[in-house]
């Protein structure tokens, strides 16, 4: 390892340790004012009464603060629930805003300093580690040692990384109150961009974007000499930074709805939720444009672009989940399961999620237009189930946390309903395919090994069959790693695109369809 890489790695680790330490800093002191400020009108009196014993008490950690909160709050809710007084139950979770407001810590006082020490150092270290990779080598395939690596082949480092990611997602989704230090730390950045305070989602979005940028640089280095990989990486870096991160924040600054113009239903599963529709309809021309834009992407954009280019136009060029998978997740792409069995599970699961998303959305829309007369609050229940099981557990915890265990496209392959929709178009009505170059395949297996979607590319290549698979995200890595120049991503006429009985050229004795 070169000196600069060592320095980079060192800085990254310092940043990471700082990031993991920061949540434990500071003290928490609740007051009546803070409770009144951070609770809804209807809950104010009750919350003020319930939490009164905590006022003025200084708690030394988020754990003791949360314990006290639960001690005072939970019995009330439990009581109401046991009496089935559902309308008395306080369903809102006030732990995050109250913990955030109660915090007294050096991080809150000097957010930039701590930001620099944690995320800043980690990003800088990552950059230093990446930006000169392979500088002394000619351009080429840089897969040396991947299966000898603890990080990339499910060794201790991989397990540790996966566990950390899973832990982070669990805390982020269900226990954000423990992250308030980190949220305060990025507060100034949020105020700079949107004018508003930071939430845990802003923190997440910021880390997510930086991770894609830093690891995108790694992609540029790794695939030096491969223009397709470079452009596609630049594209996901751009769409994440501009469309997913900056534009929505700036929209908020301009008093417009928060909106990611490249997020498409049903991946964006709450697009048709009643509160979203209300937001669009109440935001004048801009809101109407967002609504129409979103619908046009679904009914025109997806089929049209997928017809011409395959689903790759979205999955490996635009999508944020794809962006993370293709940059941060790239070191783990070889861990996807290539078995026929996995493929079978994949088809069942991903299409089930699609059906679930469609059914839920149709019910929501019908319910909305019937003025909630049809199903009442049932759709809300559906939303929370979907949001928990699919939106949080599947897409987040499993989708990213499982990178080091099952490869970088677990969510995209098994779970994403938009990928399922794009895939159906790609399979049945598209000009996209991966062409195999006549009889040149030597069955080496690089293509299959490095397919993040677990497609057994070699199965097709060695029999001279063009690869038409709904799951293919067109990352182009099979083509890159092929040592014999056999694979090429192509858009072409639909005729003969799907041929189950190909003939390998080169043998004039016989023509056997295998």
């Amino acid at each position: 390892m070169k000196l600069i890489e060592k320095i980079g790695l060192g800085l990254f680790l310092i940043g990471l340790i700082a990031f993991l330490t920061i949540p434990f800093l500071g003290t928490y002191t609740l007051s009546e004012e803070l409770v009144l400020e951070n609770t809804k009108d209807i809950h104010r009196d009750k919350m003020g009464e319930l939490l009164a014993p905590m006022y003025g008490q200084e708690y030394g950690s988020s754990f003791s603060f949360m314990a006290a909160y639960r001690e005072n709050f939970d019995p009330y809710n439990d009581e109401q629930k046991s009496q089935q007084a559902w309308d008395q139950v306080i369903w809102d979770d006030y732990t995050f805003p109250l913990a955030k407001a109660s915090l007294e810590s050096p991080v809150r006082n000097s957010p930039w300093l701590f930001f620099g020490l944690s995320i800043g150092l980690a990003a800088l270290g990552g950059f230093l580690y990446n930006f000169r990779q392979h500088a002394e080598e000619p351009a080429g395939i840089k897969n040396n040692g991947i299966f000898h690596s603890s990080m990339k082949n499910r060794g201790i480092l991989g397990m540790l990384t996966g566990s950390l990611l899973i832990l982070f997602y669990i805390v982020l989704y269900w226990f954000p109150a423990y992250l308030v230090n980190l949220v305060w730390m990025v507060d100034p950045i949020s105020r700079l961009l949107s004018g508003g305070p930071a939430s845990q989602w802003f923190l997440y979005g910021l880390i997510y974007t930086l991770a894609i940028l830093v690891m995108g640089i790694r992609m540029f280095r790794k695939y030096r000499g491969n223009k397709y990989q470079q452009l596609r990486t630049a594209s996901v870096m751009f769409f994440q930074t501009a469309f997913a991160f900056l534009i929505p924040e700036i929209l908020v600054l301009l008093n417009q709805p928060y909106f990611d113009f490249k997020n498409i239903w049903p991946l964006d599963y709450d697009f048709f939720y009643d509160y979203q529709i209300d937001t669009f309809l109440s935001a004048g021309g801009v809101g109407m444009f967002m609504l129409i834009w979103g619908i046009l992407l679904i009914i025109v954009g997806v089929p049209l672009f997928t017809y011409f280019f395959g689903k790759r136009w979205y999955c490996s060029w635009v999508c944020g989940c794809g962006g993370l998978a293709e940059t941060v997740g790239d070191p783990y792409r070889q861990l996807s399961d290539k078995s026929v069995k996995a493929w079978k599970y994949e088809r069942w699961i991903i299409h089930s999620v699609l059906v679930l998303a469609v059914v839920m959305t149709v019910l929501t829309i019908v319910n909305y237009f019937s003025g909630f007369g049809l199903l009442g609050n049932v759709t809300n229940q559906l939303h929370s189930i979907y949001g928990f099981a699919i939106g949080s557990v599947f897409a987040g915890v499993v989708g990213t946390g499982f990178y080091p265990f099952m490869g970088n496209r677990v969510w995209c392959r098994f779970g994403c309903p938009l990928a399922a929709y794009l895939g159906l178009v790609q399979r049945f009505k598209s000009r996209f395919r991966i062409t195999t170059n006549g009889g040149q395949c030597i069955s080496c297996g690089n293509c299959s090994t490095y397919c993040e979607m677990g497609i057994d590319v070699r199965w097709y290549a060695q029999r001279g069959q063009e690869i038409v698979r709904s799951s293919c995200v067109g990352c182009g890595v099979c083509s890159a790693v092929c040592p014999r120049g056999v694979l090429k991503l192509e858009n072409g006429p639909e005729e003969n695109r799907i041929n189950e009985l190909p003939i390998i050229i080169g043998n004039n004795s016989i023509k056997i369809k295998l």
């Binding site: 006549g438 297996g445 120049g485």
Partner: protein, 451 residues
């Protein structure tokens, strides 16, 4: 077809396995057994280097999942065949066990050449062909190797050099020819590869042969002596001076064996119901004017396998290979060839067009006969379409027509530099022609794809 007919294939390489799979495709009743001592399951020999370098695990080199063989009722037996009782139609394994056959297919492949060099059997000296060779190489290079010497400038030699480079073991590469792979590649291509080898800090010694391998007191290699009298200290020697048929267990039997098992164009040996395919088979007459009597590449092995399977199930047809093609990768530079491009050619009879990129790492050669019809192409550092050249060469297109349509032959990924435009310009400058070079597309201009 007789239901009880038992076809036994010795060898589970690409020839034997293709034969077995094709047999099953054509006949759902025949009993098929594939025997290999090397490994139970078929794997891609060409991928062994990637296992060593950590690109893949061994299981990734297996093109079919384990359940595939059961499902297709192809019986696999892992055992070494000691000898064949041709009269009794029965195999005898090294463990003493026997297996009866009705039809026997010998597809035992090759083994690395040894030319009787002094010290060639020392510890730390080996070839690279089998799974066992890979395991030996992993053991031999695990530690204590401060330099390795590779003998023989072919495709396995360069693979071995790349493998050792992964372990950061300095390599001295002894090549008998004056240029790398000089008996196959024309001068410019061979020099291009030679430059790239040196770019990877491999000590390439052309025009140099191995004379002797010297042992240390423990019977391990400590140095080699070259034909130039130089002693090179090393702890590992890779012998990669070609391969020869692995048929020792068949010699001195009633089966006719020369360099390989002698077969006619139907893969029939001198004994009824015994056939041989792949690189252990030696044709009485070469299958085509541009072919050798022993065909040693992956693709020919596959064609042998499918043709023999057809012959065993249907009306026998002679083996007739089509237009020659091959490919390889020299470190980072990919190579493909279609048709006939020999290392040396008579400039009186053959016209050669050669283009090389200023980087010195991409090139294209096309040979034409005296009428200007295409004979073959070599391309390095970029990819060309097999189907295009198979057709062009079969139909004897003029060189000009081939170059005029070169854009269609391009197989590089999208956004890559359009080398074909420069090739077209160079061809027009050298040979003239009535076509216009292709223009960069809008997308190519937009993303700055240029040569």
């Amino acid at each position: 077809m007789n239901q009880s007919r038992h076809i036994v294939i010795i060898g589970n390489g690409i020839s034997g396995i293709t034969c077995a799979r094709t047999l099953r495709k054509l006949d759902s009743d025949v009993r098929i057994t594939v025997i290999s001592g090397e490994s139970k399951y078929f794997f891609s020999r060409t991928a062994l280097m990637y296992v060593y370098m950590g690109h893949m695990k061994f299981e990734h080199t297996q093109p079919y999942e384990d359940h595939f063989w059961d499902k297709n009722r192809i019986e696999l037996k892992q055992a070494w065949v000691e000898k064949v009782d041709f009269d009794g139609k029965c195999l005898i394994f090294s463990e003493g066990e026997k297996l009866a056959y009705d039809t026997l297919v010998i597809a035992t492949g090759s083994k690395p050449n040894q030319f009787g060099w002094p010290g060639e059997d020392l510890k730390g000296v080996q070839g690279l062909y089998s799974k066992q060779d890979l395991e030996a190489m992993e053991a031999n290079t695990r530690e204590g190797v401060s330099r390795a010497v590779i003998v023989g400038g072919g495709l396995i030699g360069i693979e071995m050099a790349e493998m050792l480079a992964y372990k950061q073991i300095p390599v001295t590469f002894l090549v008998r020819e004056k240029r790398f792979w000089g008996n196959i590649l024309p001068r410019e291509e061979a020099e291009l590869v030679g430059r790239h080898i040196r770019e990877h800090h491999i000590d390439l010694r052309l025009d140099t042969e191995l004379k002797e391998i010297l042992p240390d007191s423990a019977g391990r290699v400590r140095a080699v002596i070259t034909s130039k009298g130089e002693e090179i200290p090393c702890q590992f020697v890779g012998l990669t001076a070609g391969v020869s048929a692995s048929v020792d267990f068949l010699r001195n039997t009633e089966l006719e064996v020369n360099r390989g098992v002698k077969v006619d164009s139907f893969f029939q040996t001198n004994i009824p119901d015994v056939f041989s395919i792949g690189d252990c088979a030696e044709f009485e007459t070469a299958p085509a004017p541009d072919r050798k009597n022993i065909e040693q590449v992956w693709y020919t092995g596959r064609m042998h396998g499918e043709t023999l399977a057809y012959n065993l199930c249907k009306k026998p047809v002679p083996y007739r290979p089509g237009v020659w093609f091959n490919s390889a990768k020299f470190l980072d530079i990919e190579y493909q060839t279609y048709g006939v491009v020999p290392a040396g050619f008579d400039p009186e009879k053959v016209r050669s067009f050669y283009w090389e990129h200023s980087s010195g790492k991409i090139c294209f050669r096309m040979l034409m006969d005296s009428d200007g019809a295409i004979l073959g192409v070599n391309n390095f550092g970029f990819r060309l379409r097999h189907e295009f050249f198979d057709k062009a060469i079969r139909e004897r297109w003029s060189g000009e027509k081939v170059i005029a349509q070169l854009q269609r032959a391009n197989f590089d990924p999208e956004f890559f530099a359009p080398n074909y435009i420069e090739i077209q310009k160079a061809f027009l400058a050298q040979f003239g022609g009535s076509f216009q070079p292709a223009r960069r597309s809008f997308v190519q201009k937009l993303f700055g794809a240029k040569v």
